[in-house]
């Protein structure tokens, strides 16, 4: 179902669209006023009704996550925003921070109020200098208006927001690595339990939310949680509202598109993305960031369960992009930012590109990921260099399988999944490299 919306994107591309004035002219800072009239518990309940599934990739329900925070005590609570966007193929949060920063600020105020937090840190990866600049400016504007500080909107509930900068490490997008990094440590994921809601930033109860997740919260309070949820074609699967869909790679119109949840990959690629470059055939598509499996364009999904009956036996491109629909289909929704590859792409080189990324970005804390990611890359490098053997190819899935589920955080699985998905779908291409000198391969990633 293709239904475009503009709750977050109405000011995108407009001159000074990121200013407080532009935001308020578009109806901004109304949701927070409503929320502050409610009790914090009621704010959490309303957010639950919206069924915002976390936009950072894990798809956990936002209101549910907020409800895990303990009751206010003498311990400070923290809201931490994960703005470490760096998953290959994902580029939506940056557009919010650059072009609609006040939506995030407003969402942060609501989130802080709901969870008894008075301090919010927005952890922005260092490379996004414009995002940081726009966020600091938005904070200053909001402070000057009295929206932040001692009495936001006249309510005696102090909220302060700070922008914190990373320094170049993809792993800091993992929420506990992010917390370590926020605390001034190496960005290595923490052991869980304890979970952040019990012991997060500085050992205090903490919720980490993605930028987009928080930025859409003000809309929830403008429309009402239930009404927001029902914008989605997957409201019945508790996957509500609207979200940002990204499409990159071999499409005519790459970019970020705001739509109701329920969009299909076919609509994203062909309707919004304008189709494949040069109208070439599709080789494959990665649905939501590089840690998701790659899919063939004609892949038929086997999605068991009564609630998914309508989708069973359909093509992967025609399944609504939802957290549970894609999980049920053995895939992963991730960040809803698809990477599109035409038949000009050599899948062996595509996997090589990704394995380089994961080896480079593994934090090195635990053995299977530290050593396994390097090994995966080596094998692909050898195959690409014409030095690979069939024995190594036959071991490749074993390395990835051995990483899966054995690591401290999800990074290991995130590296193993693309490895398994590529080898499974494109094994013939790898064999061609080993046995025929890649005679029938494009040996290229671009057109």
């Amino acid at each position: 179902m293709l239904k475009r919306t503009d709750y977050l994107t109405k000011n995108y591309g407009k001159p000074d669209g990121w200013t407080l004035a532009a935001y308020e002219a578009g109806g901004g800072y109304r949701g927070v006023r409503k929320a502050l009239m409610m009790s914090p518990g009621a704010v959490v309940e309303e957010t639950k009704k919206a069924h915002i599934r976390g936009r950072g990739g894990a798809g956990f329900d936002c209101g549910m996550k907020w409800s895990f925070m303990p009751k206010p005590s003498d311990k400070p609570h923290y809201l931490v925003v994960n703005a470490d966007e760096g998953e290959p193929g994902t580029f939506k949060d940056r557009t919010i921070m650059e072009q609609n920063p006040h939506a995030l600020i407003e969402g942060c105020i609501i989130g802080c109020y709901a969870m008894g937090a008075h301090t919010c840190y927005i952890y922005v990866r260092d490379e996004l200098h414009l995002s940081k600049e726009r966020l600091w400016a938005a904070i200053e504007e909001a402070k000057a208006k009295g929206y932040l500080g001692q009495r936001p909107f006249g309510k005696t509930y102090e909220v302060n927001i700070f922008v914190h900068t990373g320094a170049g490490a993809y792993i800091c997008g993992e929420e506990t690595a992010l917390l370590n990094s926020l605390e001034g440590k190496r960005g290595q994921p923490r052991l869980k339990p304890p979970f952040p809601a019990q012991s997060g930033a500085f050992g205090m109860p903490t919720t980490v939310n993605n930028v987009e997740t928080l930025a859409i919260v003000p809309t929830v309070f403008q429309l009402g949680g239930d009404a927001f949820s029902k914008l989605s074609a997957l409201h019945h699967l508790n996957d509500g509202g609207t979200r940002l869909f990204g499409v990159s790679g071999h499409v005519k119109k790459p970019g970020v598109y705001e739509c109701a949840v329920g969009l299909t990959l076919r609509e994203l690629i062909f309707d919004l993305g304008g189709g494949v470059l040069d109208d070439r055939p599709l080789l494959g598509v990665v649905p939501g960031g590089s840690s998701c499996p790659v899919h063939l364009p004609d892949e038929i999904v086997n999605i068991p369960g009564e609630r998914f009956e309508a989708y069973n036996g359909k093509c992967i491109l025609d399944i609504p992009l939802g957290v549970d629909t894609f999980r049920g289909a053995g895939s992963m929704l991730g960040t809803c930012c698809a990477i599109v590859m035409s038949d000009a792409v050599d899948p062996v080189l595509a996997l090589q590109n990704l394995m380089h990324f994961y080896r480079d970005e593994s934090c090195g804390q635990c053995t299977p990921c530290r050593e396994g990611c390097g090994w995966l890359e080596r094998v692909v490098n050898k195959i690409v260099a014409g030095e690979g053997t069939m024995a190594e190819l036959d071991q490749f899935h074993e390395i990835a399988t051995n990483i899966t589920g054995s690591t401290i955080c999800a990074f290991g699985d995130g590296a193993a999944q693309p490895a398994l998905a590529f080898i499974r779908r494109y094994r013939k291409n790898f064999e061609d490299y080993i046995n025929n000198g890649a005679a029938t391969q494009t040996r290229s990633l671009s057109l």
Binding site: E127, A169, L182, A350, C363, L445
Partner: protein, 160 residues
């Protein structure tokens, strides 16, 4: 010579500290601050300075400074250029952009031009996949790159 911050940066340092409940949390922003004040690299002197100011072990600060890719271990060129190499950019021709940069500057990725003007490196995904290929020049993004637009950027840097 021992490293020290200017008075102006000391003020910024104090402001950074005021954001957090403890000193350690200021480690990364303060390393950025000191790196900028030290020709864009983190020397052992800088490490020891940050450790002393934040009451941390110098081993901890060294561990942090070497964990993150944007703290330089040696002095880079006056301008730093990072070309994104990851999949979405690669699909849109970043490999060509990379080799174009290398040819244009006569250096390889990871190197600095002999005149010390430009350090050229690859970056992992810059979150600019929709406007690929992309590169970061100092603190600015340049997107939808073509060899021509890259030349325009590099020319400006070389002339500076």
């Amino acid at each position: 010579m021992a490293f020290a911050l200017s008075d102006e940066r000391i003020k910024e340092f104090a402001e950074i500290l005021s954001r957090y409940p403890n000193k350690m949390a200021a480690c990364i922003p303060v390393l950025h601050l000191c790196q900028e004040a030290n020709d864009n690299w983190v020397s052992d002197e800088v490490t020891e300075y940050v450790a002393e100011k934040l009451e941390l072990s110098a081993a901890h600060v060294k561990g942090v400074a070497t964990f993150y890719s944007l703290f330089n271990r040696e002095k880079p060129g006056k301008h730093q250029v990072w070309v994104c190499r990851t999949l979405s950019c690669a699909l849109r021709g970043s490999e060509g952009i990379i080799s174009h940069c290398e040819k244009r500057l006569g250096i390889k990725m990871g190197d600095t031009t002999p005149d010390g003007k430009i350090t050229l490196r690859t970056a992992e995904c810059l979150a600019a996949c929709g406007t690929a290929p992309a590169m970061q020049v100092n603190k600015e993004y340049h997107e939808n790159l073509t060899p021509e637009s890259v030349d325009a950027v590099l020319d400006k840097l070389l002339a500076d």
